[in-house]
Assembly symmetry: C2
Homo-oligomer: 444 residues x 2
């Protein structure tokens, strides 16, 4: 069987494949290496040269791989990358299977769909997840995932905008910013790109940036519930953010990929804030909401009200990007997305989310019982543990060495993540309990 | 049922939705329109401003839509956009359905896969479609389609390269070139962007560019079998192209999306030419090969031998783009791709391709019987008909008006497509025969 051939345990982590191993000369003339074989005369994209080399995630993968090699008998528990582990409810996979089978019939065959996604799915997203916000189906663009939409948004925005990001945050905002040429140079000392504004979000400011001290930028990437801190911004905080963007004429790119994990009264969407349609784009995903990490489905909301400085509607350019650079999400997968939002499907995926939230609670309790400051977990599948005064990579190493549990050092999410460890609540319950026990043994 | 809700006939063509209807002021200060509602202060991307507005494809969709509205009883036959119509062989959809069902089991569930694609599929592509060329599985990046990979390649290349395209050609090469800022301005008079080299490919040069008259560029987009002309370059011609690229230090981006339609001895891949691995990237797709237009699956080959001017391997940067801007093709769809290449699947998809090739033959014969010069069809699912001295949009209009058959005016593929009409061979046989009869009536 195709799907039963990969068994879990030790395989070469995907991130270390093909990573640049050495430093290369800059593309500037006169800087060439000694030639072996034919070289073209095409200059390497200077933006690609600007990307961090040997950055933290591949390094972590290497350490995990090395650890597994040195400890072949250890039961490694992976709470590092946030990868879903629980089966998808069968009402959803049945809808996908049915759609697949139908493609073998004259009546059920479908070729190209709308690049923007099937209107029935767009309407279902609007009605189920944006009820009362004024978001319309026609403002929703179905995609193959939020990460892909981040890069399409960056193509839309181009190189002449300045962006702000939460620090710490999901690395793709900055990496894509570098790729399209917005970022300026990396300052090795600070670990920051010099044309990007880093909005510190730490325990000292309750993981919400001090906007009064934040300079204006064209674009503000804002993820809530946040990856990695697990913190969800309150209605009042998001109102401040929307007001800030409005005053500054900025566009918020709001990432709500973890909205399904919110337990308290925090908004599930930026569009719950009045006026947000004039200043915000929202990207989101079925990955963590419905276990679609490998199935691939997401969406982006671009409101009609959002305008550039010359009054041109952003939605028209984004539509052009989607039609030119994308060709729609898989029709089979879209059928699965629709099943997640209709009938029994919605409650079924909510139950899986509930399972991961219970996992998060177990992890939070375990770390808290050790007297550590623990954040996140309540509104997100990530637990963010503070180890004051430490280097997060060392804490990561120690945990891996002593407990065979893979986490992520906070430094991987930006300088503001130092001293923290992110622990993912995605996993089988037995592994979460076992990991908790090992942590208690190690730190007690 | 999800898939039975859209019936064919009259629906608003997707391309006219959300198209810019008016000219907007440039983003330059002082050029603003009278303000209605809040406008941000974010400048519209100047590259997006440079894209052709109201270009031909939406215009065609509007005309098709208007025609259908005015002739509600006419049986419209759509041989315009190249959209597959025949059911996918059930051995392939069964593999996808099986994979979907397995995602509901503890044993069969899979989260994130490798961004580059499942290694089993990459190996199968290498072994089935690149046997004897030296292309390895590790050089193949599985994607959600060739169009998506074109834009990822443009992100890779950045704005500081100069590109050449065949004229006529698939519009996405130029449009993505404009979006990333390579193109310069559009000359309204010639219909050409002034920093792009247009390589004329017409009947007078047997649809292969005169390379001796072609200036050096960094990148050469080359599609064979060509969309829209249907012409496949011979081994000798491709050898010339590879030599030309090698001499100039250029990179060929070779689009082989229609390779499965080749009937004669023309190469199926640029990598059949010795030395091509040092100068070429190849993009391809399951769309036309296996009816996956709506299922979404493609791949790109980036050989290890391909180096930038500073010796840096292109594959390493492309891998970084794939990992940052993409997250892998759907695992369900990849299972389908594997089924296309193994067991009975391969012959089954070949049979469907054979059906479309038979369609093409019928169309070629119909137009030839009218004394028209007809190209393509033998090695491609497109028939390219010459109407000397005409404006292709007028011919399109006349055919639509008189026969209710939708085609594409050649001008939509660039200035070099003027005087031609592209007719797609994708369709049910009865429609192809009916369309041929109507043409014979019209032009006889």
């Amino acid at each position: 069987m195709y799907y039963s051939q990969v068994t879990s345990c030790i395989s070469i982590p995907r991130a270390i494949l093909l990573q640049p191993k050495t430093n290369w000369p800059s593309s500037k003339p006169g800087n060439e290496r000694r030639r072996a074989g034919h070289w073209t005369r095409v200059p390497r994209n200077v933006n690609m040269e600007g990307l961090r080399r040997g950055y933290l995630f591949p390094e972590i993968s290497v350490r995990e791989y090395e650890h597994a090699r040195r400890n072949p008998d250890a039961r490694l528990i992976r709470l590092g990358i946030g990868d879903t582990t629980q089966p998808i409810p069968d009402t959803i996979t049945a809808a996908m299977a049915e759609h697949a089978y139908a493609l073998s019939t004259t009546r059920g065959y479908r070729g190209y769909g709308a690049e923007q996604g099937d209107m029935e799915l767009r309407m279902a997203i609007a009605e189920t997840l944006y009820r009362g916000t004024g978001v319309k189906g026609s403002e929703i663009f179905v995609s193959d995932g939020a990460q892909c939409d981040i890069s399409r948004l960056q193509m839309l925005l181009g190189s002449d905008v300045k962006v702000a990001v939460q620090d710490p945050s999901f690395p793709a905002y900055i990496d894509t910013s570098v790729i399209v040429g917005q970022s300026g140079k990396l300052e090795e000392k600070t670990g920051k790109y010099n044309n990007i504004v880093y909005m510190n979000c730490g325990a000292e400011n309750n993981f919400f940036p001090d906007l009064s001290a934040t300079p204006r930028t064209d674009v503000i990437f804002f993820c809530s519930p946040n990856n990695p801190t697990g913190s969800a911004a309150s209605w009042k905080q998001l109102k401040q953010l929307v007001d800030f963007a409005k005053t500054n004429g900025s566009i918020i790119v709001y990432d709500s990929a973890y909205a399904a994990y919110i337990s308290d009264e925090s908004p599930r969407s930026i569009f719950e804030i009045p006026g947000a349609k004039e200043v915000a784009i929202e990207i989101s995903s079925f990955s963590k909401f419905a276990g679609f990490t490998g199935v691939r489905l997401g969406w982006t909301v671009v409101p009609e009200e959002l305008k550039y400085a010359n009054g041109f509607p952003v939605i028209e350019d984004f539509n052009r990007i989607v039609c030119t650079c994308f060709n729609g999400a898989s029709n089979i997968v879209q059928a699965g997305g629709l099943a997640c939002l209709t009938g029994d499907g919605y409650q079924a995926v909510r139950n899986v989310v509930g399972y991961y939230k219970e996992n998060a609670k177990i992890l939070v309790e375990a770390f808290a019982s050790l007297g550590l400051k623990v954040y996140g977990g309540e509104n997100a599948p990530y637990v963010w543990v503070h180890f004051p005064g430490t280097c997060s990579l060392n804490v990561f190493d120690q945990i891996l060495e002593k407990t065979h549990v893979v986490t992520v050092p906070g430094r991987g999410f930006g300088p503001g993540g130092e001293e923290y460890i992110r622990v993912s609540a995605f996993g089988h319950r037995e592994n979460i309990i076992e990991a908790s026990l090992r942590m208690k043994k190690l730190f007690n």
